[in-house]
Amino acid sequence: MTKEIIETIKESVGTLTLNKLRTGLAMLGIVIGIGSVIALLSLGQATQTQIQNQIQSLGANLLTVSPGAQSSGGVRGAAGGATTLTNADAVAIKTDPTITAIKNVSPEVSNRAQVATGQNNSNVQVVGATSAYFTVHKVDIDQGSLITDADDTNLRKVAVLGPQVVSDLFGAGSTPVGQSVRISGQTFIVVGTTVSKGGTGFFNQDNVVYVPLSTAQKQLFGQDYLSSISLEANNSDVMTQAQNQVGYLLLARHKLSDPTQADFTILSQADILNTATAATGVFTTLLAGIAAISLLVGGIGIMNIMLVTVTERIREIGLRKALGAKKRTIINQFLAEAVILTFIGGLIGIVLGIIISFVISRVANTLFVVSPTSVFLAILVSGGIGIVFGWYPAKRASDLQPIEALRYE
């Protein structure tokens, strides 16, 4: 049995090498199909991993309380636009005895503002923060010092700059500590810079200037409410518990009895992660779908070539049948040719796909991920395509009557 299979494979390889150009062209469709599946799946997965890493780098076990209505119910206020979160809320979360699952509380205000030195200026995110901010969000100091509680209570005009701001305003690699910047026209002394956290676009955590919370509220933005409160739970197991404790405390403080009427939103990092994963999952599926279409086209190409081959080899098939080849033998021969075509095409496609995703990861400066599952799947699919699209031509070959086939010119 195995001998029979090996013999069929040997013979098929022999036949395929007789017409190298046609074999190559037939394979091309599968090479491109499998190659794009591998490349696009890798791209999707790299994006997903990268977004997950970025969200995780925002801080571990993070809960964010934002002002604004829950998304349930009738009319929803714009998140962040409301003024319902106050400093007293933050203090209450920190001190209330019912809150047992929270380790650190970071009240924050955040707004975009113009930041300038003598020569340069830039529009950046200005964050009013307490010392807890840096613990909760895992922001590390590079030069100088962080914002202290004393800075906050004394309304000091000091600033800590993100690395992007440093390079925009002072030039990359410079040491701005001790120099001054103007934020919305007021002079602040730079006391420190932070280590880069990476990220681009919306998630850019490097293009930020930190100032003391009270300074930001009273001197810069003129507001006594908070943009958000970030909370660090004790560990990842008590996230839900922490979310509930804070939720009930704030409902009570805001004199609301119905949770659906809440004037704040508590998002856990897991919620954000799930949303992002779902979104990138859709993206990956979409890419895979596009790649699957090119695979289908490749399969039809194989079928087309195999049908041409059958027509071209009618006399040969007739002869083989005259010499004693049974239906099954002929089917196996043509199926083997199709499967070998798609299988080898699939292997080349995998190599091509890996090379493409490597090049993309270098050019776009993203992660290089090739999942073994997608490679395994590609091998299976390419073999399957050979069977599915090779079957019809093989069946046609085997159904030929030997006399008619021998007579065929």
Binding site: G318, L323, G324, K326, K327, I403
Partner: protein
């Protein structure tokens, strides 16, 4: 009393195209003894090709029986017919029908592949028969590098490897120059002397003259059946 290898009785073949019936063979009765050398002659349309296809198990009769080497062939399925062709019949075609771009020895091995002959014996058997037709120095040549006569000799070697009950030759010299045709006929004569049963279709009387017995067909019937001296 010699053994009968082919026994055809009351055999007819009717082709039906729409409502038009064409009788290709009607009520043929024929016995061929083992070791005989029969030529079947007749003008085109006489039914000789149809008879050849039925004798070669490439086609089945509409009516009647055909017993080849003790086995009733007329009612078999496609796959059973394939096995009969492989085991009991050696074909030599007018157009040689070798696999293109394939070496002589691989062509000769082909029937053994379908007949499940042990792989290690195949080359030995193929070499033996290629030597017998005088092509031992052309075994690795591709079929398109051989002359017509050489190709037909490869085909004869191929017809012999399964040690068939009959050799069925359809106009074996039709595509070959006359000098080489003589060589082919010599090989058939030698094979017949060694005991092989040969049935040959031809329309050339001087080729038919090599056979021991000549059948003439006309309009699907046997017109004449005589022995050469």
């Amino acid at each position: 009393m010699k053994d009968t290898i082919i026994s055809v009785s009351n055999l007819s073949k009717v082709y039906q195209t729409g409502s038009v019936k064409t009788v290709a063979l009607s009520d043929i009765n024929l016995k061929v003894d083992k070791g005989d050398y029969v030529a079947i002659m007749g003008p085109s349309g006489s039914g000789k090709s149809t008879l050849m296809h039925i004798l070669g198990a490439l086609d089945t009769p509409t009516e009647g029986s055909y017993i080849l080497d003790g086995e009733e062939v007329s009612k078999l399925t496609d796959d059973q017919l394939a096995e009969i062709r492989n085991q009991k019949i050696g074909f030599v075609f007018q157009a040689f029908n070798l696999l293109p771009r394939t070496s002589a020895i691989k062509n000769v091995i082909l029937p053994m592949r379908y007949g499940n002959v042990a792989e290690e014996k195949r080359v030995e058997i193929a070499t033996k028969y290629l030597k017998m037709v005088g092509l031992e120095d052309r075994m690795e040549h591709n079929s398109n590098q051989l002359s017509g006569g050489q190709q037909q000799r490869v085909a004869i070697a191929r017809s012999l490897v399964m040690n068939p009950s009959i050799i069925l030759a359809d106009e074996p010299t039709g595509n070959i120059a006359s000098a080489q045709a003589e060589e082919i006929m010599d090989i058939f004569k030698k094979l017949n002397k060694e005991g092989h049963t040969i049935v040959m279709i031809t329309h050339e009387p001087d080729i038919a003259a090599h056979a021991k017995r000549v059948l003439t067909l006309k309009d699907g019937k046997i017109l004449n059946d005589k022995r050469n001296n």
